[in-house]
C-alpha cells in the first residue's frame, strides 16, 4: 500500500511539471500584455519601462526559471492588472467556486446514480427510455443555454430566483443546476452501463441463486461494484466543474475562479492565467491521486497489490 501511494505521488509530480511548461509557453503566444496595460497613445519608452518592470524583457527560459523558483516557494507572482498576489486573488474566489461545484456535484449524483440504476434494472422499458431522453438532453444542451433559459423562466417570468450575483441560497440554485445538468446526464449514463455489466455477472447470478431479496442483490452486490467507475468520474468531474464553470459563472455573474480566468485571459494577465491553470491542473492531479487511494480502500485487490 505504501509503495503504491509513493508511485502514484511520483506520477503526479511529473504531470504538474509538464503542465507548467505547457501553459507558460502557450500563454505567451497570445500577444503582448503591455499594450493593454498602458494608456492609449503611450510612448515606446513607457511601454519598454513596463515590460522591464514586469520582467517580460528577459529571455523566456529565464522567465520560466524565475517563475518555477518562485512557484516552488508557493509564490504565483503578481497580477499585472490587479497589482496583487495571484494566490490572494485565487483564494478569495476559490470558496465561491467550490461551493458552486459541490452543489452541482450533489445535484448530479442525486439525479444521476438513482436514475442510472433504475434505467439498468428496467432496461428497455419505460424508465430506461425516459432516461435516454434525459441523457440526450443533458449532454447536448450547452450549459450557457440552459442558464439563459432558466434566467428567462425563473427570473424574468416567474420572478422566483435572482438572475445573477451571489450571497444567498437562492442565488446558487440556478448556477448549480446549469452546471450540474450535463454531469447528471454523464453520471446517469455511466451508472447505467456499469450497472448493466455488473447485473450480467456470475456473482449477481449467484446472489440470486442464494435466494437474496432483489433489493439486496441490487443495492449490495451490484451497486457497490457498479459505483466504482462512477465515483472515479465524479471525482474528476468535481475538479472539472471548478475549472469549466467559466461559462456558467459568466452567465450568472458568479464570482468564482472561472470568472477570474476569464478576466485573466481578456487582459493577458499572464500570472493569473498561469496560476489558475496550474492550480486547476494541480487539483485534477490531486483528486486523481485521492481516487487511486480510495480505490485501494474499496477494492481489496488493489490494496494488496505490490
Amino acid at each position: 500500500m505504501k509503495s503504491y501511494i509513493a508511485r502514484r505521488l511520483g506520477y503526479s509530480m511529473i504531470s504538474i511539471l509538464l503542465l507548467s511548461v505547457t501553459i507558460f509557453m502557450f500563454v505567451r503566444l497570445t500577444g503582448d500584455p503591455t499594450t493593454l496595460l498602458v494608456e492609449p497613445g503611450a510612448s515606446q519608452s513607457e511601454i519598454e519601462a513596463i515590460r522591464e518592470q514586469l520582467g517580460l524583457d528577459r529571455p523566456i527560459w529565464v522567465q520560466y526559471a524565475t517563475f518555477m523558483a518562485n512557484l516552488s516557494m508557493g509564490d504565483f507572482g503578481q497580477s499585472f492588472y490587479y497589482r496583487m498576489p495571484v494566490s490572494e486573488l485565487y483564494l478569495s474566489r476559490l470558496p465561491n467556486s467550490l461551493l458552486l461545484a459541490a452543489c452541482a456535484m450533489i445535484f448530479s449524483l442525486v439525479i444521476g446514480i438513482p436514475s442510472g440504476v433504475l434505467a439498468a434494472v428496467r432496461v428497455g422499458r419505460f424508465w430506461d427510455k425516459a432516461g435516454k431522453v434525459f441523457a440526450l438532453l443533458g449532454l447536448s444542451m450547452p450549459a450557457f443555454w440552459v442558464g439563459l433559459v432558466m434566467i428567462l423562466f425563473f427570473s424574468v417570468f416567474l420572478e422566483w430566483l435572482p438572475s445573477s450575483g451571489s450571497g444567498t441560497v437562492l442565488h446558487i440554485i440556478m448556477p448549480a443546476f446549469a452546471l450540474g445538468w450535463y454531469f447528471a446526464a454523464a453520471h446517469m449514463r455511466l451508472t447505467r452501463s456499469s450497472m448493466l455489466e455488473v447485473l450480467g455477472s456470475e456473482y449477481v447470478k449467484l446472489a440470486r441463486l442464494k435466494g437474496l431479496p432483489e433489493a439486496i442483490v441490487i443495492a449490495k452486490h451490484a451497486l457497490k461494484n457498479a459505483v466504482i467507475p462512477v465515483l472515479t468520474l465524479a471525482g474528476i468531474n468535481l475538479v472539472v466543474m471548478v475549472n469549466v464553470a467559466v461559462v456558467v459563472e459568466t452567465v450568472f455573474a458568479w464570482p468564482g475562479i472561472g470568472r477570474l480566468l476569464y478576466e485573466g485571459i481578456a487582459f493577458r494577465d499572464f500570472p493569473v492565467v498561469q496560476g489558475v491553470v496550474i492550480l486547476g491542473g494541480g487539483m485534477i492531479v490531486f483528486v486523481n491521486l485521492l481516487i487511486d487511494i480510495l480505490y485501494a480502500v474499496i477494492d481489496p485487490r488493489i490494496r494488496l497489490e505490490r
Binding site: 428497455g124 456470475e202 449467484l206 442464494k210
Partner: protein
C-alpha cells in the same frame, strides 16, 4: 437399520437413512412436459430451448444431464430455479418439488426455496464470488437471509462450512477476499455456499470445466462426500461422460432442447437406445485403441430458431428414415425408468452395443 452396525461400514445405510426422512413418498423433483422458450424482443422469433422435458430425481440420487453446448442443459437448470433471463418463458409443464408445483409458487415463495431447499453451483468459480465482500460474508449470507441468523453466528457457521469443504485454516480464510484464493478453493467455497442452508437438491452446472484435472477429481470426491453426508439429491450437468460414469445413478441425454434418452447410467452405457447417445459414447477417445483418429459426430447441431418438423437428430443420424424427417418421435418407455425418443428404438435396439465406457474412463 440397526444401531449395531459400526460407523465405518455405514456409509450407504446412513445415506439411505437420510433419504428415508423425506415426508413425501414420490420423487424429490419431477418435471412433467416442461418447455422453456426464448422469445425475441418483438416476439417474432421463438427458440424452444427446452422442449417437453420430463424427468424424475429421487432424494439422495444423482442425475446426470449431458448434451452439447446449446442443447438446453443450463436453461433447464435455470428453469427449475425459475431464474431465467428476461427473454426466457416457461410455457408449459409442471415441476413438482417435494410434491408442490414450483410453477405455481409466487416470486417470494420461489426466493425462499432458492439457496435454502434447492441450491446451484455455477460453472465459473473465478466469477461466481463477489470481489468486494469477504468469504465469510458471502458464505454466511444465505444463513442470514433464510434463517435470520445474526452476522456473528452466520460468521461462525461460515467457518464450519469452510471446514466441511476442506478449506485449510478456515479461521483466517473466512475474513479473506476471493482474489486471495485459488480456483479450486473458490469452487469449494461456492460449494460451501450451496450447502449452507442444508438444501434437498443441488444443481451443479458443469462445476469442474474450468478446473484443472487433478483439482477436478478432488472436487468431485468432495461433492460426493457432501451428497452422502447431507443426503442431497444432485443434478449434475456436464458434457463429460467419464464424470457421468463416475458420479451418476441416472442419466438424461439432451439434444436440441429435448431429452432424447433417459434411464439408469449402467443400462444406457451398456445398451444405448438412441443413435445420438450411441454416437456420443462412440466419440469418447479410448486408450489402447489402434484407431488414431478421434470419432466425431458428423454435421452440426440444428439451428434452434428454425427447427425442421421431424426428429431434430435426423440430419446427422446414420439410420434416419423418411418417417424420422417428417414427424418428431414421441417419448416412448423402453422399460421401467427408461425412455427414448426415437422411431427406430424398438427395431434397432439390438444393434451392436456401441461402447463399454463404464470401465474405460
Amino acid at each position: 437399520m440397526t444401531s449395531s452396525i459400526p460407523n465405518s461400514a455405514s456409509f450407504k445405510p446412513l445415506a439411505a437413512g437420510h433419504t428415508k426422512a423425506m415426508t413425501t413418498a414420490g420423487p424429490l423433483l419431477e418435471l412433467d412436459g416442461v418447455s422453456t422458450h426464448y422469445v425475441s424482443a418483438q416476439g417474432t422469433r421463438v427458440v424452444p430451448a427446452v422442449d417437453q422435458v420430463s424427468l424424475k430425481i429421487n432424494a439422495g440420487e444423482t442425475l446426470g444431464i449431458v448434451g452439447e453446448s446449446g442443447s438446453g442443459k443450463s436453461t433447464l437448470a435455470l428453469t427449475i430455479l425459475r431464474l431465467l433471463p428476461p427473454a426466457g418463458r416457461i410455457v408449459s409443464g409442471r415441476m413438482l418439488f417435494e410434491g408442490e408445483d414450483l410453477l405455481r409458487k409466487s416470486d417470494l415463495e420461489m426466493r425462499r426455496i432458492r439457496g435454502k431447499r434447492i441450491a446451484m453451483i455455477l460453472q465459473d468459480p473465478m466469477a461466481s464470488l463477489n470481489p468486494l465482500f469477504s468469504i465469510g460474508d458471502q458464505v454466511g449470507e444465505p444463513i442470514r437471509v433464510h434463517e435470520g441468523a445474526t452476522r456473528r453466528s452466520a460468521w461462525s457457521r461460515a467457518i464450519e462450512l469452510l471446514k466441511s469443504v476442506r478449506i485449510p485454516a478456515p479461521e483466517t480464510r473466512v475474513s479473506q477476499f476471493p482474489h486471495e484464493m485459488s480456483g479450486g478453493m473458490r469452487q469449494r467455497i461456492v460449494g460451501a455456499i450451496a450447502i449452507s442452508c442444508g438444501p434437498r437438491l443441488l444443481i451443479a452446472d458443469e462445476p469442474t470445466t474450468s478446473l484443472d484435472l487433478t483439482i477436478q477429481a478432488q472436487y468431485l470426491n468432495l461433492l460426493r462426500d457432501l451428497q452422502r453426508e447431507h443426503g442431497l439429491a444432485l443434478i449434475f450437468i456436464t458434457h463429460n461422460l467419464g464424470i457421468v460414469a463416475k458420479m451418476c445413478d441416472q442419466l438424461a441425454v439432451m439434444y436440441a432442447g429435448r431429452v432424447v434418452e433417459s434411464g439408469p447410467v449402467s443400462r444406457i452405457f451398456n445398451a444405448p437406445a438412441h443413435p445420438y447417445t450411441r454416437a456420443l459414447l462412440n466419440s469418447i477417445p479410448r486408450m489402447g485403441s489402434n484407431n488414431r483418429r478421434l470419432v466425431a459426430i458428423e454435421g452440426q447441431p440444428p439451428d434452434m430458431v428454425s427447427l425442421a418438423p421431424g426428429c431434430s437428430f435426423a440430419a446427422r443420424c446414420p439410420s434416419a428414415t423418411d418417417h424420422c424427417r417428417a414427424e418428431a418421435p414421441p417419448e416412448t418407455r423402453l422399460e421401467a425408468n427408461r425412455t427414448v425418443r426415437c422411431w427406430l428404438a424398438g427395431t434397432e435396439a439390438n444393434l451392436p452395443a456401441a461402447a463399454r465406457v463404464s470401465g474405460a474412463v
